[in-house]
Amino acid sequence: MNFYDIEKKIDKIEEKLKILKEREDIDKEKIKLIEEKFKRKIEKFYSSLTPYQKVLLARHPNRPKFLDYVNALFKDFVELKGDRFSGDCQAIVCGFGKLYIEKEILDFLKDKIKYPCLNKEKGYLQVCLIGQERGKTTKEKIKRNFGMPNPQGYRKALRVMKLAEKLGKPILTFIDTPGAFPGIEAEKHSQSEAIARNLYEMAKLKVPIIALVIGEGGSGGALGIGVANVILMLENSVYSVISPEGCSAILFKSQDKVEEAAKALKLTAQDLYNLGIIDEIIKEPLGGAHRHKEELFKNVKEVLIKYLKNLLIMEPEEVKKLRYKKYRNIGKFEEIS
């Protein structure tokens, strides 16, 4: 399936509707009816996507990437680069930004907040931002290694997250990767150790962590920045132990069983919510995150602040304990007598 063609059709109809609306000689009620019928049709289409179609939508080239969120939701972002001993991987971007909040939230947090991250005068929270960036243009994609981090990326992320812990800033991670990079240098620098270390250290951090899957959550490479108090997913994002392509090849012994594999893996936001792995699904605008970005960013900001508000009034030890408990309880098995 090609989303481009479908989107082109939708764009064309939307444009025609716009022209019709401007004409004085046509009954407004009639146009409204047509518009509603059209909207229902798109809604029906997008709500009946197969899991693999969702994978394709999650990988849509126009879908907002991590840096789009940074620019839209945060002010004065400062980036920190390098792992301080072997290099800088640009598939992971790390830094700090200001998240402006409504007066109502500010008033709520003012006396209860347990972390030194609230500017009461100017009304913003200082937050640590960690995310995988895939890039949009070919040049950018190459620079970002198509969002596939090397060990240096995970180690940079850990360095910055530890800084966030030292300074008492909450951490927001944005997941969007096909997976950790499979390469000679990556193995030489121990991709395994880099990811494992992050899982271990993230379990210990004494600041709130929220992870948000914005596109593709590719296996261990995604989890490497994904250990959190709260795991959120965008409505059309996916999160999987292996890509449907990989699963098709290994388990179904075929290149073209991707639809079946995607279905079997239970990788959609809805599936993972039902399995109790994620905490909440963030609604996307009709047609996907890239269709009406303003609406998307508004939804994301609202949900992030809702969880931050709850976590920032908890003691650091409690935040850590709750995170441990969350992972301690994941797993489905039977105890026979």
């Binding site: 950790a180 990079f181 499979p182 390469g183 000679i184 990556a186 193995e187 030489k188 121990s190 991709q191 395994s192 150790e193 990811i195 494992a196 270390r197 899982l199 271990y200 379990a203 210990k204 296996s219 261990g220 989890l223 490497g224 994904g226 250990v227 999160y239 999987s240 132990v241 292996i242 699963c247 290994i250 388990l251 179904f252 012994k253 079946e260 594999a261 079997a264 893996l265 239970k266 990788l267 993972l272 399995l275 792995i277 995170r323 441990y324 992972y327 301690r328 994941i330 797993g331 489905k332 098995f333 039977e334 105890e335 026979i336 007598s337």
Partner: protein, 274 residues
């Protein structure tokens, strides 16, 4: 699954004789068995069963199995070319174990240890909910009693048939290991052929001490995936235990016949003593 990682025993049309894969010597099976499945001529490490491994490791060949009552369910109703439930039954029959890992407690030269050992014959040693839970329980015991924890790894990675539940086991066992820090108790990882993927990127590489068997293939991505991605042939010996030692990723490559003595020294130097 993970068939390319399996070590074939080259059959020589005889139930008593075996050909060494490396030096091609004809070896008497009984002798090989006594030698812990290490070729007496070239030290090539054949695959050894979990039972034999524990038999050689523990004092008086005695140990107690723990958490045997934990069994896998089929949370996703997963069906590929076969239903997951059927795969589990077949693996149980084939191995006479009920999961891809066993938990044990016993003594190594007088030192009490909690030990978990992966079984590669059981669905490629893949880590699903039960493997994650068993590891976690054994680590928690070790932390509570301040007794060293040892994990012998052999795995193709996460168990795909349990989807995200299995990926999350990586985070679960890694979090559990933080308890050993509070208990000032060491964790020694022994990486055997093969240790890959999600198991490599969690329990395996979080060892305070990481030992590996000679020739074992250890890494995150499988060699075939890497070759397909970068479109070039991998260097000789890439991702072997010796390669990892050279690049500073593990502490030592240890011959299986010396593993017990080596573990003893590390345990006695590092364990909680008061």
């Amino acid at each position: 699954m993970f068939s390319f990682l399996r070590r074939k025993k080259e059959e020589v049309n005889s139930p008593l004789w075996l050909k060494c894969e490396k030096c091609k010597s004809l070896l008497f099976k009984g002798e090989l068995e006594k030698n812990m499945w290490v070729c007496p001529k070239c030290s090539y490490h054949f695959k050894i069963s979990v039972k034999e491994r524990l038999y050689h490791l523990f004092d008086n060949h005695e140990y107690e199995l723990l958490d045997e009552n934990l069994v896998s369910v089929d949370p996703l109703n997963f069906v590929d070319t076969k239903p997951y439930k059927q795969r589990l039954e077949e693996a149980k029959k084939k191995t006479s174990f009920n999961e891809a890992i066993i938990n044990a407690v016993g003594y190594i030269n007088g030192n009490k240890v909690y030990l978990s050992c992966f079984n590669f014959d059981f669905m490629g040693g893949s880590m699903g909910s039960v493997v994650g839970e068993k590891l976690t329980r054994n680590i928690e015991r070790a932390a509570k009693d301040k007794i060293p924890f040892i994990c012998i790894c052999a795995s193709g990675g996460a168990r795909m048939q349990e989807g995200m539940l299995s990926l999350m086991q990586m985070a679960k066992v890694s979090a559990a290991l933080t308890k050993l820090e509070d208990a000032q108790t060491p964790y020694i990882a022994v990486l055997t052929h093969p240790t890959m993927g999600g198991v490599s990127a969690s329990i395996a590489f979080l060892g305070d001490v990481i030992l590996a068997e000679p020739g074992a293939l250890i890494g995150f991505a499988g060699p075939r995936v890497i070759e397909q991605t970068i479109r070039q042939k991998l260097p000789e010996g890439f991702q072997t235990a010796e390669f990892l030692l050279k690049h500073g990723l593990i502490d030592e490559v240890v011959d299986r016949r010396h593993l017990k003595e080596t573990l003893t020294k590390y345990i006695e130097n590092l364990k909680y003593s008061l």
